[in-house]
């Protein structure tokens, strides 16, 4: 339920990862839901997400990682955002985050500890992602966090 000026969301597939299909489906769904999407596509280095978010004044960054290197690629992502003055930006990560079989709550913990607001388990449906965004944006409107000065 984006307001009068649509919220801006940056999407992309991080690192050397070329799995673009899920990210594209997600970006299309977001656009259809009324968000302004800045889609960076596959093979996107972490700093590029942050730079795009700065210029476009994005409200959220959705990072995809499918090829199993997510833990390495996403390390320091929140710090990069803080460095660029995006302290309060909403950060999600999803895809196939880690190689091998690990219980989901362990994987999720790793990414939440890195500063992501939400981590999506493999095969997460876009409908759920849209619900998360609606909830989180609504919560922010009720209790707006201080924007970096």
């Amino acid at each position: 339920m984006p307001a009068t000026t649509p919220r801006t969301i940056v999407t992309g597939v991080i690192g050397s990862d070329t799995h673009i299909v899920g990210n594209r489906i997600l970006s299309m769904a977001l656009e259809k839901a009324g968000y302004k999407v800045v889609a960076l596509g596959a093979l996107t280095p972490a700093p590029e997400f942050v730079k795009a978010a700065v210029e476009t004044n994005a409200d959220a960054i959705l990072v995809s990682s499918l090829y199993g290197q997510g833990e390495l690629d996403c390390r320091g992502f929140r710090e990069l955002c803080i460095e660029a003055g995006l302290d309060a930006i909403l950060l999600y990560v999803g895809g196939n985050l880690i190689v091998g079989k690990h219980p989901w709550d362990v994987v999720e913990r790793i990414f939440l500890d890195m500063g992501f607001d939400r981590a999506a388990a493999p095969g997460m449906r876009v409908e759920t992602v849209l619900e998360w965004l609606a909830q989180d944006f609504a919560a922010r409107e009720r209790a707006p966090r201080r924007q970096a000065g």
Binding site: V38, K51, V54, N57
Partner: protein, 473 residues
């Protein structure tokens, strides 16, 4: 008797140069030159140049057009301000360079008090303020507008940032001469520099020419239309694209080594030529100008020496290293010096070769191999100019050279640097008569004539000139 004639004027940093053109026969009638007396009264040197031209012509014809470009009084000095260095700050830089400016300062993110002090000290003629996509970040550009608005800066400001923030920015800039142009980056990673360029050119025409005292020559010159680098760029564009039924030469590069900088203009898409190569970074403008501020044959002879290495220069010039070091020191102190003997000519040739090689390398893009889990992939940054078929050399260094091919041949791709996307096998043309700027100016009034003139007078660099012609070059 002559037919209709045009006078094209370049108010340069040292000389005011004239070209008289016969518009019907499409020929250069004569050239004239005088000092650029901008510090006192530009029209004094202009009249000297006209007298010189008159002597060569016998009698000055009635000119249908008298159009000028200028790089006098320091050129069009600009400062650019953007948000992210690689995004709107870079887009702003490119817009200013494309307008023919001399970039004296580039800033990104929030301007600090120290930044403001340095901007004031730079005394720009125009400041270009960008930042944020349309509807994107407005906080930083408003902060910067506030800093500029409350400062003592008195130059015109072109606002080409987040459109949504202009209304507030305008208030913050109250009291300054500020105009709004379309955003240099309206959407993320979309480059839109033409409107900002047009705004800069308009301010140049309407205010800067007057502020610098160049309009004192108005009795001898109808209009000073643009900075000289912009005229060269317009000439390059016309030469590449053609006009009406006259085809141009297609994609090309113009290289212009000067005393203080080396300019490179490319008119080419620069898209990856090999399928599967991915382009990185900001999209490249088809007409692109880069300026290498450290590659000047005189003011920066020492910098070229440092970059290329004295031993390499000495080897190329076939001179002892001691001689090269000594001469480089002399050149930097005596920036108007033309080579006086065989030794100095040999050094100039080596300096020119090094400057051209390096300037072309920096202008062209490059590829690098990125290793993905699937195997290697190729990513391109900048423009791929490997397929460009024409390289034009202009400016005194090339025009005065006895063997311009020896200079120009250094710009081509070399097997030892396969990552660099320089032209592989171009043919070369030399602007012996220093006409490209004149064609760019004339293109404003008579593009067909301007194009035919350029096509006629740009020559293959084969013939080796005698001393006599060189002296009069």
């Amino acid at each position: 008797m002559h037919g209709a004639a045009a006078l094209l004027i370049d108010f340069g940093s040292t000389y005011t140069k004239l070209r008289a053109i016969d518009l019907d026969r499409r020929i250069v009638l004569a050239s004239g030159q005088g000092p650029s007396t901008v510090a006192t009264d530009i029209s004094v040197g202009m009249r000297v140049a006209l007298e010189d031209l008159g002597r060569r012509l016998g009698r000055l014809p009635q000119f249908r057009y008298r159009l000028g470009s200028s790089s006098a009084a320091g050129g069009l000095r600009m400062v650019t301000v953007g948000l992210v260095r690689e995004l709107t700050a870079e887009a702003a830089r490119r817009a200013a360079l494309g307008a023919g400016a001399k970039l004296v300062g580039t800033y990104a993110y929030r301007l600090t008090a120290a930044d403001m002090a340095s901007i004031l000290a730079l005394r720009p003629d125009i400041l270009l303020l960008a930042g944020g996509t349309d509807g994107g970040n407005s906080e930083v550009i408003l902060h910067n507008a506030r800093m500029l608005g409350s400062s003592a800066l008195d130059c015109p400001i072109v606002y080409a940032g987040n459109r949504a923030a202009w209304d507030s920015a305008k208030d913050l800039l109250a009291g300054k001469m500020a105009v709004c142009a379309e955003n240099v980056m309206p959407e993320f990673n979309v480059l839109n520099i033409e409107p900002a360029r047009a705004a800069i050119r308009e301010i140049f025409l309407e205010r800067i020419v007057h502020a610098k005292g160049i309009d004192r020559a108005r009795d001898e010159c109808d209009a000073v239309l643009m900075p000289t680098p912009a005229a060269v760029m317009d000439g390059a564009r016309l030469l590449a694209d053609g006009h009406g039924s006259t085809p141009g030469l297609g994609e090309l590069v113009v290289i212009d080594p000067g005393g203080a900088t080396t300019d490179v203009h490319s008119v080419a898409s620069g898209q990856p030529r090999v399928p599967g190569v991915v382009q990185r970074g900001l999209p490249e403008p088809r007409v692109k100008r880069t300026v290498e501020g450290d590659l000047g044959m005189r003011h920066n002879a020492a910098a070229i020496g440092e970059m290329a290495g004295i031993p390499a220069l000495a080897a190329d010039a076939r001179l002892p290293e001691g001689t090269v070091s000594r001469l480089i020191g002399e050149l930097a102190r005596d920036v108007d010096r033309l080579p006086r003997d065989a030794e100095e000519r040999a050094l100039d040739r080596a300096l020119g070769r090094a400057a051209l090689r390096c300037a072309m390398k920096r202008h062209c893009g490059s590829v690098e191999t990125v290793y993905t889990a699937l195997g290697p992939a190729t990513a391109q940054t900048g423009k791929d100019l490997s397929g460009v078929e024409v390289v034009v050399g202009t400016g005194g260094v090339i025009a005065h050279s006895r063997a311009p091919l020896e200079l120009l041949e250094t710009v081509v791709a070399v097997p030892t640097e396969p990552e660099s996307l320089r032209p592989r096998d171009p043919r070369f043309l030399v602007d012996r008569e220093y006409l490209l700027y004149a064609c760019g100016l004339l293109a404003q009034a008579e593009p067909e004539a301007a194009l035919e003139l350029a096509l006629k007078y740009l020559k293959a660099p084969t013939e080796v000139l005698t001393d006599d012609i060189v002296a009069n070059g």
